[in-house]
Symmetry: D2
Subunit: 317 residues, 4 copies
């Protein structure tokens, strides 16, 4: 293999740049040319390609976002777009493609491999940590630390005034983020999609506590988000809850050590996988070791949240 392409797609996650740096350096040590595909699937369709050199990966290991930029290019579901992409890859002489991103990215890589025999390898990167095949995804560790730092700040205010706060964190499909953050910030209650939020019980818990009370709620909870919960509580019990939605700030920022190291490892593993002839797989880290998982499993199977964490959160709340 002489030429590999790489893109980042979907929502950005801190550590994507560290993965790009690792991929470039491993390719370089194998004398493989690395082509950056800009703006994810949009750039793949439009042949927005740029060859990597050392300066492109210099001093990016500690920067959030992605120097290749990204997109949410929904048009790629159109077969014509995928055909264009394949033609672009062939024309550029790209023999293998590494895609860094979330479940959507894995789906597309799987399609390209199955329909068009493109050699594809995925690297899991999403702050939601909801991809099967890797204990952690790139960006998750940074996001939980960012969210917890923000909640530590809010807690200063909550402690000073003995109010009730509902703080909404990301995680539309799963409660990984809310659970880790909730335990870490000493939340009094954690609301996640995996468990049923009983508003009646929650109200009694708050009343019983009779002091500042912090609820961490994942955006995917069946109640809705923090505002919906506050509305429910107001209507049902005339209870005032202050609302904080952490929002976009959870994605970016200097990546943590774990995210930089995971990204560096998975970058190496992805190049190694392509060189060994593997395709249609995602590289991940499970129990500290590198594993390959068929792409289709990564988005079809559901990675379960360890129930011990849920129980721990309940006992400490």
């Amino acid at each position: 293999m002489k030429k590999i392409g790489v893109f980042t797609h979907g929502a950005d996650a801190s550590g994507m740049n560290a993965a790009l740096r690792s991929i470039y350096r491993i390719c370089h040590s194998h004398h493989i040319e690395l082509i950056g595909i800009r703006r994810g699937l949009a750039g793949l369709t439009e042949a927005d390609f740029v060859p990597f050199d050392r300066s492109m990966t210099s001093n990016i290991i500690n920067r959030g976002g992605t120097v290749l930029h990204t997109s949410h290019f929904l048009e790629f579901e159109n077969g014509d777009m995928r055909h264009k992409a394949v033609v672009n890859l062939e024309h550029a002489g790209i023999e293998g493609v590494i895609g860094i991103g979330d479940a959507t990215t894995m789906k597309v890589l799987s399609q390209l491999a199955r329909e068009h025999s493109v050699k594809t390898v995925g690297i899991p990167a999403t702050i939601d940590n909801d991809l099967y095949g890797s204990d952690y995804t790139i960006g998750f560790d940074t996001a939980i630390n960012t969210a917890t730092e923000a909640i530590d700040r809010i807690r200063d205010t909550a402690d000073s005034s003995d109010k009730v706060y509902a703080i909404e964190v990301m995680g539309s499909e799963s409660g990984f983020l809310a659970t880790y953050v909730g335990i870490a910030c000493g939340a009094d209650y954690i609301a996640i999609p995996e468990t049923l939020t009983n508003v009646h019980d929650l109200f009694h818990k708050i009343s019983h506590a009779n002091r500042r009370f912090i609820i961490v709620i994942g955006e995917g909870d069946e109640v809705g988000g923090a505002q919906e919960l506050a509305n429910l509580m107001k209507e049902a019990y005339n209870l005032d809850i202050r609302v904080a939605v952490l929002g976009h700030m959870q994605r970016g920022g200097t990546p943590t050590v774990r995210d930089r190291v995971l990204a560096s490892r998975l970058g190496q593993a992805a190049v190694d996988a392509l060189l060994s002839g593997a395709s249609n797989i995602m590289v991940g880290e499970t129990n500290g070791e590198i594993h390959q998982t068929p792409l289709q499993m990564t988005f079809e199977r559901r990675k379960a949240l360890n129930e011990q964490f849920v129980r721990l959160a309940e006992m400490l709340g």
Copy 2:
């Protein structure tokens, strides 16, 4: 003077604890007893008093919030409540009162001095920086750094996807916070109460830029907040703007050095003022020196935002 009381009132601000520590230590060196009045004006009315000792101010210089807690006790506008407060102070033998907080706190201190001859001194503490009589108020420096750090994170995402973001920061009456933060994060546009936000011009600026565009908007802007601006842009020009409201997280957190030093200085100055016989004044720092300002001026006069900052922001945007 043998016994001084101190309270924190209104919204908390990082550095309040550093002020309390300073006040305690300065009192201690003068052999004055310091009484903590808990929960602001609520505690003053209910005689919720606690004597300070060294352990109460140990390791709090670097903690956000206020160990004395605070409240928004609107009932204090009732003269009966103020009468209760004065009785409580007399009963406890408190000869002078230091109040730490925002404009409302200064108003109350002024009332107590004028109506009831209580010796009062104010210390300005609000993240909005909108009190006349001090170049900076305690909590402002921490808040601008917290907000800027959050926007730095959002910018990673914005840069990765070339979208338009409207980010709302605090500041209901004045644009200090939005202006400092806007300059610091390299915002493309800053919307503040002090200037008129021309939506038409803004749209053209965004269109012309044709890349990621970051608007920092103070919550007190005449357009409304970030969501209102986004709605206006959607209706008028069908332009999609992503909204981020930084919210409560702007208040708390480990105070910066400037806030700790300012709080330490003003704590010393407040005790010195009471000891020298001053009353009905706020201590502040102007041009690096300690000054006293009659309490009434602090909330009646408006501290103007330096126009040079506004122009600088426009030129760099």
Copy 3:
């Protein structure tokens, strides 16, 4: 079991407080009284005991150090001291003891269990991550992030002036910390006890790079620390290397989410272990699950650094 004692011993590690909070809350839910043994083994010998209540564990989950304080009480190797300790425990009615700390702590807990039939459970907490029986020890994740953040800063200077820096991090026995930090900060060379540092090769690598060059060196490297390496390079090749020793600042600070969650889990597991009748064991987390390891194994066996990390560091350097 009605009464449990807990102490923190040796060097402090961020997350010890989160462990104490978890232990207290789990004990509380089981109606077990928790006794804090202050200043580690010194306090155990002197019966410096304090009963835990909710206020002691309030708002400590996010604070570095240990509210119980710690000591390096070498006199405990004396059998008389241990006898005193056992008498103190019996006298206070303490039926089980949880010790939080490093290898020395595990040794002492093992002695108390074997010699005196005290029910003991250990929780691994050391920034060095060098205890067998847990993939990670409490404090490690915070330390690697703190060290990396400091090196990120130094790199700004290094990049601006194209100099060579040797930066010494902690880790007297093992290279976990240096390896994670080295990969995360994009070090050009990592010197650890597990591998031989070839000064000649290193010099050629530096000369060949001909630009800023960052060496991360563990304090336990066979060359010595950063200063010794710089001296060697100066003598042998007249090469100037700037030295930075990160030192004590690596221990403290607000714990990361991983350290808070790990500490919370291990706190729960330690109480559960005592309640289930276990003794003379350390609780740890391996491959995401809680495991118990006989105390003697934890300090006699050597936890190996994953060789893949060493090779990854070499390839990316």
Copy 4:
């Protein structure tokens, strides 16, 4: 004026990049070409010039160090070198030069103006804050926050073990940094060049405290640094003091809001000064307003540390 040159010289300081960005944007708005002189005076002598464009100043406002790089080019004291520099400037058509840096930089700018009639303007940037003509220099605010954050961490350890620590911060000529940091971290003693360190009194203060004791010492104190102080205390009183030297990490890192805003303002002021015909001056901020100071005064006069700060530190210690 059609073409301006800019360089950064000496030790780097956080905010230099924000100044470069501001200078570029202000020049751009005046249709002036901006030439970057790389590696400070070394690049000036070797005509290492690069024209600025928007991409060079994109996303650098929040990055430490300097994208233009810097040097300590002592050979510039040689008149031949300065002659070369002047020829290079003329040859490139550069009509005015902005130099960003410390006292040495101001000296050189002064020489070029006086000896060779080069139009020069200086911008003060040094973490030591020891230039006359500006209340604060670029980089100081970031450095005091970085140092304080590191000491906050060390304090966690100090509090846990009741030891005595001497922590050395930068500041070879003046005690600005040590004083701000000392007050902010609640130091028990601050040793600075401006005051005499009485080792005997210090020993008694430590003995009297009989608990953890933190000394912040500026590297320029007449005792020497932290290690020298510890040696003195060991020899004279057999007192063990733990030593921490913060070192190089104090320079870099993401600049604070104050440093970004100050740098943005001074960048604008420097261009404005050149355009208005000024030369041989440094722009600075005094009492919140922009002022110009003859270059020679900036390094010949000594900016005094406000004595109130020294006394405050003593009273709070």
